[in-house]
């Protein structure tokens, strides 16, 4: 604590995390373009600075000095406040994350609960943006994002609940410590899969980028935004959420600052491990988003409600059984792994069946 002043201390820590978030967003935009470029057999940015490393700074400066348009028919205050409403929850997630075993802005007893609850609030910003823009694409996008984000919250919550059962705590630090040398991804592969799907959905990444579907509704809620507001709403929120959730996933599933050999060299080592693991998750996200097509809205919801949700319940049931009867740990892996294989089969099977997707031509009710 700095000078014994709680408020000053909190302020300094918040500033540090904000600086970190900005830095990470700048790096991520650059990394994404390079990484996706390499997947697509391109080079990515090359001309702005050596190997294009100044690219994201150039983008930022350009966006900041760009004209900030507001459509004449837009709802003024809702339109202007929507980016803030979208960004604040994304940033608030970072507040509760412990980056080492002793450093975070605030380490909460109910950290897991807090992160899950807060990260879902971004949807408010999207709905505000979609409604206020007075644009049909934006409205469609807002409706889609509302449906998607809220639906995917539920299996993710259940999967994390199952994990909390195994860890025996909702405190993120305690969860990390409970993992020890074997991260929870080993004991809970199904839970990790559900979390990954939920993370992709939360950050609107392919195959779940229905709200912003560029080839259908041209960016969704933020179609009318330009300049700085657009960069806050779109780039900043999206990448901050991605970073926050990746660190979160690294903490609870990938063992946080532990690693299998059990060596601990101090806070910088812990920080490095966290970032490496988060980077792994981010790269997986980028890789998937560069190669997958996009699901349709009904398939997206079907995947959530018909596959992920029952599987999450199943996971809770198994975990309860194992924990109550105190069966050995490897049964966790066995049950969860078997359930994951079964999920994979369900997904495979769903695309084999040719369901009649076409409604009668004469009009559709409900």
């Amino acid at each position: 604590m700095i000078g014994g002043n709680v408020w000053l201390d909190a302020f300094v820590r918040l500033l540090a995390v904000l600086g970190l978030a900005i830095l990470v967003v700048l790096i991520l935009t650059y990394v994404e373009r390079k990484f996706v470029g390499r997947i697509q057999m391109r080079l990515g940015p090359m001309r702005t600075g050596p190997y294009g490393i100044l690219q994201s700074i150039a983008d930022t400066v350009k966006l900041v000095v760009k004209e900030d348009l507001r459509p004449a028919s837009a709802d003024r205050w809702v339109y202007e406040l929507a980016p803030i409403a979208a960004f604040v929850p994304a940033f608030a997630v970072l507040v509760a994350l412990p980056f080492t075993d002793s450093w975070g802005v605030r380490v909460l007893n109910l950290g897991l609960f807090y992160v899950v609850a807060v990260s879902a609030l971004s949807v408010l910003g999207y709905i505000m943006a979609g409604w206020a823009s007075d644009n049909k694409y934006a409205l469609l996008g807002a409706m889609r994002s509302a449906a998607q984000l809220i639906s995917y919250e539920i299996p993710v919550v259940l999967a994390l609940l199952a994990l909390a059962m195994v860890a025996g705590s909702l405190d993120l630090v305690k969860i990390v410590e409970a993992q020890g040398r074997v991260p929870f991804i080993v004991w809970q592969p199904l839970g990790f899969f559900i979390f990954l799907a939920g993370m992709l959905a939360e950050t609107s990444r392919r195959p779940f980028d229905v709200p912003s579907a560029e080839s259908e509704i041209v960016g969704g809620p933020w179609i009318e935004y330009s300049g700085i507001r657009w960069s806050i709403l779109f780039a900043f929120t999206e990448y901050t959420t991605m970073f926050g959730l990746s660190v979160f996933g690294a903490l609870i599933f990938l063992g946080g600052w532990n690693w299998p050999l059990g060596l601990d060299l101090g806070w910088w080592w812990q920080l490095l491990l966290i970032f490496v693991k988060a980077t792994l998750l981010i790269m997986t996200t980028l890789w998937m988003s560069a190669t997958f097509p996009r699901l349709r809205i009904d398939q997206l919801m079907g995947f959530c409600w018909k596959i992920l949700l029952p599987m999450a319940f199943l996971q809770i049931f198994f975990n309860g059984l194992i924990l109550v009867y105190k069966w050995p740990d490897w049964t966790l892996l066995l049950t969860s792994g078997a359930a994951l294989v079964f999920t994979a089969f369900l997904i495979y099977d769903a695309t084999r069946v040719r369901a009649p997707v076409r409604a009668p031509a004469g009009g559709v009710t409900s």
Binding site: K136, F292, D298, I347, A350, R358
Partner: protein, 375 residues
């Protein structure tokens, strides 16, 4: 009685305008969708944003100059369009095409079919939501073939290389080796695209059963090409009314079963493989040297009065040239029967009842070229 009516709620159908500038409309096509929530209830296509009078202009150019406008009409498969046009002129003028020129034409036209389908693969996958990866895959392979086209004709897109009676100049010396190399490369490229898309669960889920049309309706609407073959009809003009020298090659006609978007994609993928087969056979049979134009070709080409409707199997379907001559060195009337134009007519039939996202997929699966739709 639905819930809405019981509670006195009101549902509203809204009109969503897509285009003329929209990433999914492949140019300047515009469609107005009436949607009920996410379902499409009605669709009104608007075309003509690229109507630039190629038919009218052709009437004021002589027979050879008009080749250039054919390139620009069907700009994704310009060799195929040129081939159809020059065959129409040859039919009217009674020109015989030398053997070597025939083979050069067939090889280039089939390779152009492959490039066109590569373009389709990229655009279609992008419509479904792949973030440009399929596009770059397709374009990488397309560039190899375009390099060959440039070596032969001197231009990347607007070749103007076929002439009534043959081709403009002889192919380069290493033509055969280059074509063989391109064929090998193309086989790899096709399997890349195949691996990226065909078995992808999301891709299959998005295209299976979308935009299905029955074969009777397809014929009634005048559909042709891969869209028609996807309905299960084994029809291909190269086999039914063999033009040029297509009767000398052995190739299969891939067909679909359900006539949906996935079948259209699959038919095109298989067609690319068949095209490679045709090209490989043609390279083997092609004479190493020989004339490329008839000996007694007049400096100013005149056609005797008459008319012809020449049709050819283009990547998008039946490309027809209706050419009326009244003597003289200019076409009296040149009508292009463009396959995309006819295929687009069935868009409403295919789309209504699906989701908004599927409208984009259906449009992509028809594979329109706006230059050819609007002419």
């Amino acid at each position: 009685m639905t819930v809405e009516q019981e509670q006195g709620l009101e549902t509203l159908e809204i009109n969503v305008n897509m285009g003329p500038q929209h990433p999914a409309t492949h140019g300047v096509f515009r469609m107005v969708l009436t949607v009920d929530g996410e379902r499409v209830v009605d669709l009104v296509p608007h075309i003509g944003y690229l109507h630039r009078g190629a038919e009218k202009l052709s009437e004021n150019l002589d027979y050879r100059q008009a080749i250039g406008l054919q390139d620009r009409t069907e700009y994704l498969a310009a060799f195929n369009a040129e081939l159809c046009y020059v065959m129409a002129v040859e039919k009217l003028a009674g020109l015989e095409v030398p053997e070597r020129a025939q083979y050069i034409r067939v090889i280039l036209a089939e390779l152009n079919r492959i490039t066109s389908h590569y373009m389709f693969m990229g655009a279609f996958a992008t419509d479904i939501g792949v973030f440009g990866t399929a596009f770059t895959y397709g374009f990488r392979e397309r560039e190899y073939i375009q390099d060959l086209f440039e070596e032969v004709s001197g231009d990347r897109m607007m070749y103007a290389y076929f002439r009534p009676g043959g081709v403009a100049w002889d192919a380069p010396d290493n033509f055969k080796e280059r074509v063989r190399w391109v064929c090998r490369q193309t086989r790899v490229g096709i399997s890349d695209i195949d691996g990226l898309l065909t078995t992808n669960e999301v891709f299959v889920a998005r295209t299976r059963g979308i935009g299905a049309i029955s074969s009777q309706k397809a014929i009634d609407y005048g559909l042709s090409g891969p869209v028609l073959r996807a309905c299960g009809l084994k029809v291909d003009l190269r086999r039914e009314e063999p033009y040029s020298i297509y009767d000398r090659f052995d190739f299969d006609i891939p067909t679909g079963e359900r006539g949906d978007s996935f079948d259209r994609y699959w038919v095109r993928l298989e067609e690319m493989r068949q095209s490679v087969r045709i090209v490989e056979q043609a390279v083997e049979q092609m004479p190493d040297s020989g004339p490329i134009l008839p000996e007694k070709l007049p400096r100013r080409l005149r056609c005797p009065p008459g008319e012809v409707y020449m049709r050819a199997e283009n990547p998008r379907g039946e490309y027809g040239i209706y050419l009326v001559s009244k003597g003289g060195d200019k076409p009296y009337r040149l009508k292009v029967r463009s396959p995309s134009y006819c295929n687009l007519m069935a868009l409403k039939e295919m789309t209504v009842g699906h989701y908004v996202a599927d409208a984009v997929v259906v449009l992509g699966s028809i594979d329109i070229v706006l230059g050819e739709v609007d002419r």
